[in-house]
């Protein structure tokens, strides 16, 4: 079958367009958050007190650093430093894992305290119920994207290892990195909205 010409800029443009869809997808949830924050300011502030700022800030540092390592990885590959690139990508994936472990601890703690969708504890106050409902929904959707992003980066590592992504042909890694940065971006907004709102 005839192979069409590769279009590096087109591939990048397409990836950005896909990121736009993710912005609108999460945007719908941010819409709900905005409306309900306006409706339940007291309960949202109260809810924010119950979240651990330490965990939240730590996770923010973890993701920002992971964006840093991925950006370094791309530069490394472009300079022909393949080993360094792979190491940085591995570090990024490890950081993703750290994020998810932290999330696991946070969620288990909440659930153990009777705070989960449908719990009797939450049934007592509409505003508090909405706050934590949105918390689980938005951090859950975000966590799903962390896992997907890590898988994408692992795939990039595979392709680099196979020599199919190189210092001359690195579009796949760049675009995988773009996806990862989006995951970081969403968290940059989630963190203050849930953890610092008190």
């Amino acid at each position: 079958m005839h192979e069409p010409h590769k279009d590096y800029l087109g591939d990048k443009f397409g990836m950005w367009l896909f990121l736009f869809t993710e912005i609108l997808l999460f945007g719908g949830l941010f819409l709900l958050y905005a409306i309900y924050l306006h409706r339940y300011p007291a309960e949202f502030h109260q809810g924010g007190l119950e979240l651990s700022r330490l965990f939240g800030a730590a996770n923010t540092v973890v993701l920002i650093t992971s964006s840093f390592t991925v950006a370094l990885a791309i530069s490394a590959l472009q300079q022909g430093r393949r080993g360094l690139c792979q190491g940085l990508l591995a570090a990024t994936i490890v950081l993703a894992g750290v994020f998810m472990v932290n999330k696991y601890f946070e969620w288990s703690a909440k659930i153990a305290h009777g705070i989960y969708p449908g719990s009797p504890e939450l049934a007592q106050s509409g505003g508090t119920n909405i706050y934590f409902g949105l918390y689980y929904l938005m951090t859950g959707a975000h966590g799903l994207h962390v896992v997907i992003g890590a898988a994408v980066l692992a795939f990039c590592m595979l392709r680099i290892g196979q020599g199919r992504v190189t210092a001359e042909d690195f579009g796949l890694l760049e675009n995988g990195g773009l996806y990862w940065h989006l995951v970081d971006l969403v968290w940059i907004f989630l963190f203050p909205l849930f953890y610092l709102i008190s």
Binding site: L24, A57, P192
Partner: protein
């Protein structure tokens, strides 16, 4: 053949440090109560961080201007979706709104 503009490690590191600093700022500011302003300040700092990630880590500063224009358009559309919904929610008659 792909165009190569390589981001220097040093520049990336500087951006990383600024991002960490801004994270510290936003956590610090949250200890004080500025009422409604708290949300505004938090969102402003978050937006500044996001801008740094987009411009440098995501390389948008060095890309085609059209791409940047489209990104702005996306945020405008999202702002309209959220903002226009407030035409409803913010003007509901009080009780049980």
């Amino acid at each position: 053949m792909t165009h190569k503009h390589i981001m220097p490690f040093g520049l990336l590191a500087k951006i990383w440090l600024v991002l960490l600093a801004l994270t510290g700022v936003t956590v610090g500011v949250a200890s004080f109560d500025f009422g409604y302003l708290n949300v505004l300040v938090a969102m402003s700092v978050a937006s500044a961080k996001a801008l740094l990630v987009v411009l440098f880590f995501m390389h948008l500063k060095y890309e085609n201007r059209v791409l940047g224009a489209f990104l702005i358009l996306v945020f405008v559309i999202l702002a309209i979706f959220i903002g226009f919904t407030f035409f409803d929610v913010a003007w509901r008659p009080e009780a049980g709104a």
